[in-house]
Symmetry: C2
Subunit: 300 residues, 2 copies
């Protein structure tokens, strides 16, 4: 399978935008038509969530290069929720979307390898690119150390997949560790960014970007700009656009002059667009589509 970094470049080029739609199906936020009533069984809730996720995919499949399901909201629904997650990933694949699984996994040795085998690879059963969950990329937490990224990078190489390593997250408290200055003068974020760049450099394709990416939040535009320069070979996944406060001006700092190098995620601002007066429509999927089109326009 073509390496992930190149597949992502192709998808962004074809769709002419770097928008990633985050699929965070909080059951209590579903459109009224789908919202489970308070006495609904877990199976009924999961059915609503699944219908919602597949409709989101249908609404945006021709518009954007990628979607990012948030594992936590499926895990919250127990084993039936995991079945819905699986169906969501497969359906997005079928509709030609790249799938970035946002699960922030990280562990040591053979345990890390088990996570890599679980999620990385959207190929057919029996192929080296097959994985049970079928994602094209996975978000990774690097706290356990550089050695713990190895099972993931190895799996990326054999399955044409990618990872996005948490470098600077979008939350207010991300400074607690990530901005701390180390004895060598770098911050914790900078240290991991340098490591990500070294990994991605060796996998970069024709357009200059490799398979090992980074997560850098839109809510810290100065850091985003610095990180763009610090990791010239790495795709940056940018959360925090819209609902969390990042503006179009902010996220453009993560893109290169060709509009490549970053993928910008919006979750709530798109999937729950029907809640916003400006996106009122007869069908909630029209709201989703209109919000997506507006984001594409804002970033162009």
């Amino acid at each position: 399978m073509t390496p992930f970094g190149q597949r992502l470049a192709l998808a962004v080029t074809q769709k002419k935008n770097p928008v990633c739609v985050g699929i965070d199906p909080r059951a209590t936020s579903l459109p009224e038509l789908l919202r489970p009533n308070p006495s609904a069984s877990i199976e009924q809730i999961v059915q609503s969530v699944e219908t919602f996720c597949l409709a989101i995919i249908d609404a945006v499949a021709d518009l954007v290069p990628a979607v990012k399901p948030q594992a936590a909201f499926f895990e919250e629904l127990g084993p039936p929720g995991m079945v819905a997650l699986h169906k969501t990933v497969r359906y997005a694949n079928q509709r030609g979307l790249l799938v970035i699984m946002d699960a922030k996994r990280g562990d040591i040795g053979t345990t890390a390898a088990a996570y890599a085998n679980a999620y990385l690879g959207s190929g057919a059963p029996g192929s080296s690119a097959y994985s049970p969950w079928g994602a094209d990329a996975l978000t990774i937490n690097p706290y356990l150390g550089a050695d713990t990224l190895e099972p993931f990078t190895q799996r990326c190489a054999t399955s044409g997949s990618g990872i996005f390593v948490l470098v600077k997250t979008s939350n207010p408290g991300s400074s607690f560790f990530q901005d701390q200055r180390l004895e060598d003068g770098r911050t914790v974020s900078e240290k991991i960014a340098d490591y990500v760049e070294s990994l991605s450099y060796s996998t970069r394709g024709d357009l200059g970007y490799g398979d090992i990416g980074a997560v850098v939040g839109a809510t810290y535009p100065k850091e985003l700009q610095a990180m763009r320069q610090r990791m010239p070979s790495a795709w940056i996944l940018i959360p925090g656009y819209g609902a969390q406060g990042g503006s179009a001006q902010d996220v453009k700092l993560g893109l290169d002059s060709r509009g490549l190098g970053a993928i910008v995620n919006s979750s709530r601002g798109i999937i729950f667009a029907y809640e916003q007066p400006k996106y009122q429509a007869t069908q909630w999927t029209t709201s989703v589509r209109n919000a997506t089109l507006d984001m594409i326009e804002a970033l162009s």
Copy 2:
């Protein structure tokens, strides 16, 4: 429900040992009787894994206070694997064991809350201590910042659950971040340890330990001893005993004079004991039991 820190103290006192059996069901390592053949379907593999996990629980339920399923090995099997994880947790609960879900989750805001709701709480459906996965405690990755622990500590309070925050992991590369010295003179590990202690102090029960614990590997005994003193109110979950190199002498540095304050995990050394010549037996579950009894003896 009684707070987790007190339930753990009671369980360790009743069983008279601090041993935690790690359930890491690598399909390729299962005893010959259960090992799936290379052409087995995913359903057959999951059936073998489930049989293995429940038999482990039966073998150790009267001996130890807790088990620690490793989520990665279940996730590796896709949605059917998650059903097996669920059954494993429920069965351990039924057999009176505390369940520490080793999933190393961590995220921001409402996403962290979703993980907390997913895993923390082993109460009956409908009660405030109910969660879909039904664990008594969860391992947590703190990289995203102190603010991201809050949804977990809140859930601990309402559901009688606990968390174990990664402080110093057992892998060779844990120094990459965790041992880095910050400008205030503390290492990254020490900074998070101080925060864990502050959280656990306010939840401590009669025996002095609260609901917010820490993970400190047996492979770094000097750090373990220092962390025991640095976090007097926190339970320490100690991985790395046995197969990873930590000795009984090493892990005793994590226990207080009453034999409380730490729970010592062994996975491979117990569940795959049948591979060791010294534990050869007619039934593989006898090997599991004998290895558990030896570990209890070594720590007493």
